[in-house]
Point group: C2
Chain length 337, copies 2
């Protein structure tokens, strides 16, 4: 019996927010594995702001998704057919399987998922790339010291919500910037942030002054634009700005907005450093072990927003990220037919 | 006999390029020193792009010059009257004496100038704050390794011309960005830069690609704006961007231009760090000793553009900096009446 694979391909390079015409959803026969390959039935797809950047041409930290190519996505699924020595039918695995129902793999960069440790969506969130991004980005690049003030933007997102909690666990003052009162309440009441600032409420700069009276020692930025500028204006001496993302800029259809006040880096003798989580691959195991310890002890909380749907729902789920609707890790759970 | 002091005061905060009305030049009696003070006859004034930033209100790395205050300036002069134990009549000294003919000082941050080592203007340039800025900014913040590619903007200026030479002395490939063919020739033929790019000739990005085919390891920026963006687009993996100045932005009368492509820091896993030379005060002696050694051996060349004039000429001399007219260290030598 030939399986029918539903596939989401990039049809055109979007200008601004991706439109329906920028995607092509189609049904195709799934090829059976050859020697050294296995077939995965994809169950969960990680939906991330960075995906929007992969759709653009030009130099970035990964090659662009080409027109006609399956949209790139991290996912978790079950091996349903295998001619690979290391992967057996029934194995639950993580890999960059793409936005499709069935994925062939040669096993490269595919890892086992221990669902006795936590449900699969957590392995895409706090125990996955999101958690690792927060962990290494904050601790290795941001290097916060106990007692210092850590501010994170996109604080209710999959990475930001972990950043603030790790800051708190490390004895820092953790301040989140998020959109809306509900998210802010969640950060403080549920996740233990010391403060949360609703950037939609206006006067972000004054709020930062109030909540970080001695300045910001580490700013972990997922947002860019006006939020980055507000933080630069409040840097403490020798501050570290960690550049993780710039969601406010990903769908800009004009010129991108750079931080007009970047000379505050000089005023504060501060640094701004970009990083890419893939560079930490040889330390993932250490990071996951620590994150899992914190989850077990209850010091760290994970939240996943799991949307149930089909491959064809992916474009709409991706858009919801840019409307600021999600809290925690956004996961598309593919209905299993 | 009372000395007549000619003083240049800030009369108004300039919008854009400083205008004549933004200054007040006046003759005033020079006060005689009290106990613990001495009087300096100012002979040479350092004229620097950063002066323009001191004229603005708002948070910066030094307090703004207040309206009505003597314009701040580093200078070299001779002690002509003293009631201070450490400074005697006849001493040649460096200090922040301001744009005026006579300056009273209590000796704070005033240092002796050894004119047997080099003429006074060199002590404002290669052996002064300019040289020290190049030395510590490049070596401590930029941390170039032998064989790496160092690109410096404002390369024909007082700091940039030294940066490139120190890079070359340290076994790096030194590339300068400057305005005009004459300056570029000077950098390559006289100072030993490996290449110089005339940004006025257009296609800066293509030129950077040609001259830095493996990317830029250290970018030392004095200019900002489009030049900074062009360099960010060519960063090598783990590059260091040293933020020293932003002369292209100092006279902007609209919103400042931030680097629109700052996310290249992420793509390149690079850092952008601001520094202020005053933080290195306890290592100035070490820096000056090294710079003087290089000058003596001929490995380092210093160039000063000495303009002879009076205190009242300062505003026009300052403007010449922003017209890109100068090569090397710009010094206003006050005519001694």
């Amino acid at each position: 019996m030939t399986l029918v694979n539903t596939v989401c391909r990039l049809a055109a390079r979007p200008v601004g927010l991706p439109k329906a015409e920028d995607w092509q959803i189609s049904d195709e026969p799934a090829r059976t594995p050859r020697d050294g390959e296995f077939l995965v039935q994809v169950e969960y797809l990680s939906v991330d702001p960075a995906m929007r950047t992969w759709m653009n041409a030009g130099r970035s930290y990964v090659p662009p998704v080409e027109i006609g190519e399956v949209m790139r996505a991290g996912g978790i699924g079950r091996v349903i057919d295998s001619r690979h020595a290391d992967f057996a039918v029934g194995d639950e695995v993580f890999g960059t399987f793409g936005v499709q129902r069935y994925a062939l793999s040669d096993g490269r960069d595919v890892t086992a998922v221990d669902t006795t440790l936590a449900p699969a969506p957590v392995h895409l969130g706090a125990l996955g790339i999101s958690g690792l991004t927060a962990y290494f980005g904050l601790l290795d690049v941001g290097r916060p010291q106990p007692g210092q003030t850590v501010v994170v933007s996109g604080a209710a997102g999959s990475v930001g919500s972990i950043v603030g909690q790790i800051a708190r666990i490390n004895g820092c003052r953790a301040i989140g910037i998020a959109g809306g009162a509900d998210k802010c309440r969640w950060l403080v009441d549920e996740l233990g942030f010391d403060a949360a600032i609703d950037y939609q409420a206006g006067d972000l700069r004054q709020q930062l002054k109030t909540h970080a009276p001695n300045g910001i020692d580490v700013f972990f930025d997922n947002v860019g634009g006006a939020v980055l500028e507000a933080a630069l204006a409040r840097l403490a001496r020798a501050a570290r700005v960690v550049i993780c993302g710039a969601i406010s800029q990903y769908n800009a259809d004009g010129e991108l907005r750079g931080p007009a006040n970047y000379m505050q880096l000089l005023v504060a003798r501060a640094s701004m450093t970009g990083f890419v989580i893939f560079d930490y691959a040889d330390r993932y195991a250490q990071g996951v072990a620590q994150l899992a310890d914190w989850l077990r002890s209850g010091e760290l909380r994970s939240r996943e927003q799991v949307v149930h749907g089909d491959v064809g729902d992916f474009p709409e789920v991706l858009l919801s990220l840019f409307r600021g609707g999600n809290t925690g890790k956004l996961v598309l759970a593919l209905e299993q037919h």
